[in-house]
Symmetry: C2
């Protein structure tokens, strides 16, 4: 009985949610209802050893707890959304190129540092879980999340829980094959969804057009390094009706609609939630192009029943989702 009471009070206690990225670590104290009580942020400094990076994660966790006027011992658990291939059950990051990590036992090391239970999940899965509990997918049971940034990531929620697949790799929508003989993808194959509709793919197409002599306002401050063109810059060129940018962004919107159509036709979710840097930066007109393309390509009885929504939480999706991940796992334990 006493034990049960402790478990109950812990399940109402705040948790720490952490979004571990290649450039920054975001941490937050999050209460049982999903409200963010405090935030703490540090650079990742991924060039350092994994032990040093994990110390910085611990620092962020402590920082977020202090900011909320709490004590670490009163925190029920710590959840982390991490990039790359990982095993949530073992708590090991198998391969995270952004961090230069290979087989890092993140859960174990961090539990030793913090003396609190730590749970890890893939960052994209954690992001869609955040949207499911507190964002665009609140109250729904089945969601497909598609996040368009540098590349394209996907996350799946079925029956109210993250679906991780047989080997924790589900949701790799960025690598579904779309275009036969299309551009080469980072994964080595041709024509992946990400290779025709991710930001890097869009920028590469624009670069090719400019090099072939097309005029674009995006040339101005690039100084030969097109990787400087981020989503906001693309959105600016779109608003300025730059013909090269408009053409490539429309093409990307059609492909995003195509990927959306495949996912919803196969999975009949309540909603497809589109997020990530590019979607956040672009206007409603761009979003409408995506929806129009999805409608043309979807099985219509399913399309009619499916909402296509913008993600609502932005950067908070990661920390809120990580907090709910920790809470879910704590209850299941």
């Amino acid at each position: 009985m006493a034990e049960k009471k402790t478990a109950n009070s812990l399940s109402r206690a705040p948790v720490v949610g952490i979004d571990l990225g290649g450039t920054k670590i975001l941490a937050a104290s999050v209460d049982a209802r999903g409200k963010i009580l405090s935030r703490f942020k540090k650079k990742t400094k991924a060039k350092n050893s994994h032990k040093e990076v994990i110390s910085r994660i611990a620092l962020c966790a402590r920082g977020a707890v202090e900011q909320a006027g709490l004590d670490l011992s009163r925190i029920a658990a710590v959840g982390i959304g991490a990039p790359g291939a990982l095993n949530p059950e073992k708590g090991v990051i198998h391969l995270a190129p952004n961090l230069n990590w290979e087989n890092v036992p993140l859960k174990k090391i961090l539990e030793q540092e913090l003396k609190r239970p730590v749970f890890i999940g893939n960052d994209v899965n954690v992001g869609i879980l955040g949207e499911h509990r507190m964002g665009a997918g609140k109250g729904m049971q089945n969601l497909v999340g598609i996040f368009i940034g540098t590349g394209i990531g996907g996350g799946l929620v079925f029956n109210g829980q993250i679906y991780e697949g047989a080997h924790f790799m589900a949701g790799e929508i960025g690598h579904i094959p779309l275009v036969k003989g299309g551009p080469v993808c980072g994964c080595g194959r041709r024509g992946c969804f990400e290779a025709v509709a991710g930001r890097l793919a869009i920028v590469r197409s624009i670069e090719n057009k400019i090099k072939k002599g097309k005029k674009s306002i995006l040339e101005q401050d690039v100084k030969g390094d097109f990787s400087r063109i981020k989503s906001r810059r693309l959105a600016w060129a779109w608003k300025e009706k730059d013909p090269v940018a408009v053409r490539e962004l429309k093409s990307a919107a059609r492909y995003i609609g195509w990927g959306t159509a495949i996912a919803l036709t196969l999975l009949n979710p309540d909603a497809v939630i589109l997020g990530g840097g590019l979607i956040e930066a672009m206007d409603d007109k761009f979003f409408e192009y995506i929806v129009k393309s999805a409608k043309q390509r979807s099985f219509s009885p399913i399309f009619k029943e499916t909402k296509i929504l913008r993600a609502l939480l932005g950067d908070d999706a990661g920390i809120v989702g990580a907090a709910f991940l920790a809470r879910d796992k704590l209850v299941k334990k």
Copy 2:
């Protein structure tokens, strides 16, 4: 206590599994381990009213029970895999073109006839459930079933249970968009998976080639009606190395591999199970073409971990799956 005992003994009692098709009704008594105790079969006679067809379903259920030397009152439940769009919770078939049914309350009418609980599910979902419990997917947790026959159907098992989606329409893999501007599909759009790799699509391509003057052994007994060419006939032409048939079947195998690649990259299942009339009729060489194409197009870290298997149960998948559907629902009730 008495009630619990009854529930327990009922959960070990045989159930009846029924596969309701446009041309025939298959029924079986199935024990708690999934063993088929008896079979019974009738033509559907779908031109009759739905009430007459449902009477024939009842006849098949009674027939299967009698064949097993049982009494209907000792049957725990009846499960039915039915074609078309349906609501398993309400037990209503919304639209089944093969049966000319619209909004038929199958569950209600059959429960009145049989005085036993009746549960319905989509025939393709029920088929993959059969493969999950007793066939190629036994012991696995997450499966994608792709059934290539006249058209292409799909069924999903996640965490050991059928995944029906938000509106019971999940698994429509036959209508995912594959080929931009491809052939027109029965659903009205162009380039669906089914429109380039289902049997009707293959036969149509062969017909077009022959009409353009290509020679094929498939011309022989067709007498102008190419819809006579069924899967076995295609398999025969493939074995005879008929150039037109080989070319179109290889093209279909590439597309089946493509659809497989999309599903496994997105869903990271333990296995993709391929079944249906065309897969059953064709030899291992054809299957190897499919696997080769899937390998080329899949995200390789996921492909490496995924089995691509032939379905094992053939026509029995429907009756066995329907029996397990009924058993699952009975336990949940």
